[in-house]
Symmetry: C2
Subunit: 474 residues, 2 copies
């Protein structure tokens, strides 16, 4: 069944030209926002961070008010993978934030209200974010801070206008059980909104096109965009849509995969059983400990990092932004020390494109394993000779001929917590020589089957959702 | 879509007479099993339990080998309900058990392989359990104990024969994040199995009939039976099935509700958003603490209980069973000190029966709230004058006229951990005078919509699943 608003999303995904904004102007717009706001971001020793303290006994890093987030240690024990036990720092922020887009029909097409937003960790400083990015204290106005723009459109909207509303996880390797509410709210066509200069309307097709550029659409936008599904339809429906929306621009195969929610190479029931079996087999025990007790990590030169320099480190950052108002603050941030790569392998099976999905255990996961891309190297180095462990299917991704690469761009992690972290994101089509039988932690799914899991909490991880947001049917 | 095996389940649900077993003989069979096994179950002070120890510092109760389970303390903080913070003991058993039925076509009808099983906490000692009830050490044979009967049918079966395979939660008020794999495996029609005297085949219809008796079908059976869904179909399909399977025995309205997985009084998308909003609104923080530090609880007369005697207590039990082999062991068990009641209110809306579902927070929940029955009083007393708090919709359940009561029987909690705990379980139909607009923590759903959540982990709580297992279409 394809609902009316799913059809509207689909139509918008094919609209590349809009009367209200031209994506050719995006760079100029971003440059305007950047120059309106004079920003200085510089690194600073953690111990010198204003209003942040190292707790005397635990060594944990927290804000003097107890607000925002803390950086704590954990000990992880698991029977997944080759390392049975390790310590690491992790970001603890036990609250649910809101990431939301306002959408509205303009000239008959659904448009998304996008914000050009400055974050201290952003590559290029400004990236395009959802209409609303709010922490719980923002949206409950608990601390009487600045009220985020358009907040009331999300909190006072009749429920009938909520098109998407999901709780999705953050990165399980860096965040302890952190989740955000991903929401898309439609407002009436005739409802006028006065836009500040840092907000603009774009169609879904325009956003998909901008996603092909490096580090432009931020992580929060990508996770909300990934939540848009198009319903499930039969082959007939898919054929009709194909004719309606595009002629020779695309072969429509990804759209057909998107509408296949039930049957695929694997029956949905088989996939449910596969996940159940893995959650039964794998164990994950996460115990909190103080940062000062975390093995193989310590404070050096004002940073908190591993002795061997691997994976990531925690640094101190001092940010100052002078715009219409001046704000200045210090905060710790996570900075990767290695290059990251995420990729889905795609393969046509029985005429339908399938995604090779990995069941992956990460310490911050809510429910042991989540569905991840075929290759996800965010915490280990994937470059040849730089990694001490074998990554399945990495070779197929890196050696793919250029006409098999459907998508290839660098995408940033969230700039409020991660400092200049960007991961290469790829969709790679393999041919009939690629064996359809795969290792037990991997499973072929249609895009529609992935969307079906998306509706329920804690199934698809952030990296998988980020890649799915990059899929374009055009 | 209704799958072939879902149709087989549905057909079996209407079969009350089987060539292989007559439910009129069940009492005789159970009496045989009881007399073959001379069992002595008696209470004993916790401190005297053989092989169990109170840990010196924490006061936690654990087995000397570190196996089985522990009883520990927790501090709970939440903004749900009227009590913002409390301490309580909880059972910690961080592993996934298997609860499984073998099913097989006999004389053309699907039969379930049922075990008459002795558990120390069982009312009447013997209750009917699934084919397999195994802990992780049982099924991995980690400790070389007795291998459970029929284990190999579950572990060595080709995946194509797995009909149902779900991870479902235990009671969130008593267990800390405990889950079991609920599995139904079909074996070939011509596969002969030699049955020990404590195993018998029954149709789903026979089991549904036995569920109308008090404390006969155990909790483990009920949770697995609840996982059987029948697919989704249109009104037309439902009408055809109605004609196929029954004429004047039933009006088929519950079956129609069961097949409505998408549209109901509330759109499925609305329900997802309702759950997301509640999980965003409510917070649950559970921190471990030693039993000796748990406020308002302590050891008295060999039991661990609240000063005021409310809710439940932990007692020591010594069990001895002399059958073909002799086994004797001591263990702590949880015993309720108050009467329990669980009930769904049902109402016909637009010609389809809907269930009034409660979003309920319990400390052991995996994901903050789970979908619960309209009324669930397991931890508080529901009798008039005995309870200090108001229970919504309790009055409608207790004062329902007898022709509105579709189901009313006492059902037991799991007899391996709970001592003689039985809760009154009811399905009550309300009429058109009952207001369709309900409090924000409640939502009307079709049975098919409930089944849709059942497929995914951690949505329906144990009490809701227990009641759903009791639903009969006949």
């Amino acid at each position: 069944m394809i609902r009316p608003w799913q059809l509207e999303f689909l139509r918008s995904a094919f609209v590349m030209e809009s009367d209200v904004s031209d994506i050719a102007d995006v760079d100029i717009w971003i440059e305007e926002i950047r120059s309106e706001n004079e920003a200085t971001i510089r690194q600073k020793p953690i111990a010198d961070l204003d209003k942040w303290k190292l707790e005397p006994l635990s060594g944990n890093l927290s804000h003097v008010t107890g607000r925002f987030f803390t950086i704590e240690g954990i000990t992880v024990r698991t029977n997944w993978g080759s390392v049975a036990e390790w310590d690491q720092p992790i970001i603890r922020q036990p609250e649910v934030g809101i990431l939301g887009f306002i959408v509205k029909k303009i000239a008959g097409q659904l448009h998304f209200l996008v914000q050009a937003k400055i974050e201290p960790g952003n590559i290029n400083l400004v990236q395009l974010s959802p209409t609303l990015q709010a922490t719980k204290s923002n949206y409950t106005q608990a601390h009487m801070g600045t009220k985020p723009a358009f907040l009331e459109l999300f909190t006072k909207t009749a429920s009938s206008h909520i098109l998407v509303d999901q709780l999705q996880s953050e990165q399980g390797a860096r965040f302890l059980s952190k989740r955000n509410r991903n929401i898309i709210v439609e407002i009436d066509e005739d409802r006028g909104i006065e836009l500040p200069t840092n907000f603009r309307w774009f169609t879904l097709g325009q956003l998909k096109k901008l996603l092909r550029r490096d580090n432009l659409i931020n992580m929060d936008s990508r996770t909300v965009l990934s939540s848009i599904s198009y319903g499930t339809g039969t082959q007939d429906v898919a054929d009709v849509l194909k004719i309606l929306f595009f002629e020779n621009e695309s072969d429509g195969k990804l759209l057909i995969s998107a509408l296949k929610g039930d049957q695929g190479y694997r029956d949905f029931n088989y996939i449910l059983s596969w996940i159940t079996a893995l959650k039964t087999q794998y164990e994950l025990e996460v115990r909190p400990k103080g940062l000062s007790a975390v093995r193989e990590w310590g404070y050096y030169d004002g940073e908190y990092r591993r002795f061997d320099g691997r994976f990531f480190k925690v640094i101190g950052v001092s940010a100052q932004v002078r715009g219409r108002e001046v704000s200045a603050w210090d905060q710790p941030m996570v900075q990767p020390t290695q290059s990251g790569l995420i990729a889905f392998l795609l393969k046509e099976i029985d005429g339908v494109i399938h995604f090779l999905v990995q069941a992956k255990l990460e310490p911050g996961n809510f429910d042991i394993i989540e569905l991840a891309p075929t290759v996800q190297c965010l915490t280990g180095d994937f470059r040849s000779g730089k990694s001490e462990y074998y990554v399945p299917y990495l070779e197929e991704v890196l050696s793919a001929p250029s006409d098999a690469v459907l998508f290839d761009a660098h995408q940033s992690e969230e700039g409020g917590r991660f400092f200049q972290e960007s991961n290469r994101s790829m969709l790679v089509l393999v041919d009939e020589r690629f064996d359809v039988s795969v290792h037990g932690n991997y499973c072929w799914m249609t895009l529609g089957q992935l969307y079906r899991f998306m509706e329920f909490n804690n199934y698809l991880n952030m990296a998988a959702r980020s890649l799915i947001s990059c899929i374009s049917f055009v």
